[in-house]
């Protein structure tokens, strides 16, 4: 890593060693996922009652999200304080306490050690030393922040408030979908992509490809360059949102440059794309990237969080949690389930992306000293009232370079 070049301040070139280097990956875990960031770990609606738990991750760091008897949310490392066993193996469930199966060290739902078998020994023999204190051996607890049903965790000692971390522009877009109404979890999709995690963030900060690669978005006007659109960032550039408005399936000067526009493509069952307006304002799609591991998807009526779980430099898991609101009627739920066909590992739109991220990783891996070119829309980092730009990717790397000191 140290002998590789990346000219200071350079944002229009992203060297390919960044995606494959094991030292870079280790530093990302430490400084980004383990640093003063808020990582998404789940929805509060997935752990509605006392004792409900969910396995999750902060970067590649295994954690458990668990609601205690008081109703408070806790995030603890999935690692017994005794010998490091990953004690929670069920993906979700309900428990009265957290017990490591190896030696039955037992913790309460806040991660405090409550019982150690044979602590006093047997018949005066063995046991823990007299000065062994349960309170010295709690599970590692992470900072927890919840906003409107979305739960974040931080490994930093003193992270900023979630609201300050998001900043006003991102907070407003976040609250647009998470407006305080109770959420209803509809289900999950999970996929392992053979590519570096940053490719996923770049993908959702890149409106350029959306207007070209995706036949479904372009043909049916769900997201296209010739529609009113904007790219919005927080002041650091680490978070961003692509905001757009649905258009028609009609040819224009712009579609002439889009090979993926197919004027004659018709759905035999049009219920798949039968969106209704449900959010205030004109936008019909807002795709938000929240540093460092969350994408919030609102495309028409399909809503999901997408969590990135890093799996070494060459792979990541993408965990999609689809949701609606507790007060949705049956027609709206049916619409959300249908429109989910656009998304996920089998998504009529998203398959293109997961394939492209693997093609990207395959292409860049053998050439660590080559670099990506990011000059669309100029060389700066600034909000734009259009989507013919790669500015949000440049913004991401501006912040990345600061945090990584690269």
């Amino acid at each position: 890593m140290s002998d590789r070049a990346w000219p200071p301040g350079e944002l229009t070139r992203v060297p390919f060693w960044l995606y494959t280097d094991a030292e870079v990956y280790a530093r990302e875990q430490q400084r980004i996922f383990g640093g003063p960031s808020w990582c998404y770990v789940g929805l509060a609606a997935e752990v509605p009652g006392p004792g409900d738990f969910l396995r999750s991750h902060v970067g590649d760091y295994p954690v458990v999200l668990v609601r205690d008897e008081s109703g408070a949310l806790n995030v603890v490392a999935n690692r017994c304080a005794h010998r490091g066993v990953q004690f929670c193996q069920r993906p979700y469930g309900t428990a009265r306490e957290l017990m490591c199966p190896y030696h039955q060290w037992t913790y309460d739902l806040r991660g405090k050690l409550r019982a150690v078998p044979l602590r006093k020994g047997l018949r005066g023999q063995g046991g823990m030393p007299a000065d062994f204190r349960l309170e010295d051996h709690a599970l590692e607890r992470l900072g927890v922040a919840e906003r409107h049903g979305v739960v974040f965790a931080s490994r930093a000692a003193a992270p900023p408030s979630l609201e300050d971390y998001l900043g006003p522009a991102m907070l407003a877009l976040f609250d647009r979908v998470f407006d305080g109404r109770a959420l209803r979890v509809l289900g999950h999709m999970r996929q392992r992509i053979r590519g570096n995690w940053k490719l996923m963030f770049e993908n959702i900060k890149d409106p350029y490809h959306a207007s070209l690669l995706h036949v479904f978005l372009v043909t049916f006007g769900l997201f296209r360059a010739d529609q009113p659109s904007e790219v919005v960032m927080d002041t650091t550039g680490r978070h961003a949102a692509l905001v757009s408005r649905r258009g028609e399936q009609k040819a224009s000067a712009a579609t002439a440059e889009m090979k993926s526009f197919k004027a004659d493509f018709r759905l035999r069952d049009a219920r798949l794309l039968d969106p209704v307006r449900e959010f205030p304002g004109e936008a019909t799609v807002v795709m938000q990237t929240i540093w460092p591991n969350l994408i919030v998807q609102q495309q028409s009526n399909t809503l999901a969080t997408r969590q990135l779980v890093t799996r070494g430099p060459d792979a990541f898991d993408l965990i999609w949690t689809f949701f609606g609101y507790a007060d949705d009627d049956a027609a709206m739920t049916a619409r959300r389930l249908r429109q989910a066909n656009l998304m996920g590992p089998a998504g009529l739109v998203s398959v293109d992306d997961s394939e492209m991220m693997e093609f990207s990783h395959a292409g860049l891996s053998p050439a660590p000293d080559a670099a990506a070119v990011l000059e669309l829309g100029g060389r700066d980092v600034a909000d734009t009232p259009h989507m013919i730009t790669e500015t949000a990717i440049r913004g991401f790397y501006r912040h990345y370079r600061e945090v990584m000191e690269l």
């Binding site: 993906p91 979700y92 979890v185 509809l186 289900g187 999950h188 999709m189 999970r190 996929q191 392992r192 992509i193 053979r194 690669l213 036949v215 479904f216 043909t219 993926s260 197919k262 493509f265 759905l267 035999r268 069952d269 219920r271 798949l272 898991d317 689809f322 739920t333 389930l337 249908r338 989910a340 066909n341 996920g344 590992p345 089998a346 009529l348 398959v351 293109d352 997961s354 394939e355 492209m356 693997e358 093609f359």
Partner: protein, 158 residues
């Protein structure tokens, strides 16, 4: 031959036609194995057990299956791949009026360019089958896959 055994053979035949349509690039024949108002869903095991309604692929009519085929032919961008369905343990569970409830286990092997063949997915089929013009067709097929994690993209139906 007993009626039950004959029915089992017919179910085997339906599954063989299903596998052939998907594996032999005869995608257009795949929707023909379903009735017009059929449902077809692919669901991860965890969510199925929890009764969550979302599906990774969610079709509520034969027309939606046809739209899936059209998307594969004309819209989606993906690396070429060979798939091989191994369907076994085909069994009839019960008959409820005109509806035959059946199940089977499956494994789908995938071969990507320059790669070794891998097990892409394993799981079970939960079917409702009806007779239409003398031929068995799916009224419903729910694919419950065991590994909740999809390797890469789920391009073709399972």
């Amino acid at each position: 031959m007993s009626e039950r055994l004959l029915l089992r053979l017919e179910l085997e035949e339906l599954n063989a036609a299903y596998a052939a349509a998907l594996d032999e690039d005869a995608l257009e024949q795949w929707p023909e194995l379903f009735v017009a108002d059929a449902t077809y869903r692919i669901v991860p095991r965890d969510d199925f057990e929890r009764g969550l309604p979302l599906a990774v692929m969610h079709c509520e009519s034969r027309a939606m299956l046809e739209d899936r085929v059209a998307a594969l032919r004309r819209a989606s961008v993906y690396a070429p791949r060979a798939l091989r369905h191994l369907i076994s343990g085909v069994r009839m569970q019960r008959i409820d009026g005109a509806v035959i409830h059946a199940a089977a286990s499956y494994a789908v092997l995938q071969t990507l360019p320059e790669e070794l063949t891998t097990v892409f997915s394993a799981g079970r089929y939960l079917d409702e089958v009806v007779r239409e013009d003398g031929v068995l067709k799916f009224r419903s097929r729910i694919v419950v896959f065991d590994s909740v994690l999809v390797p890469g993209s789920l391009v073709y139906p399972l």
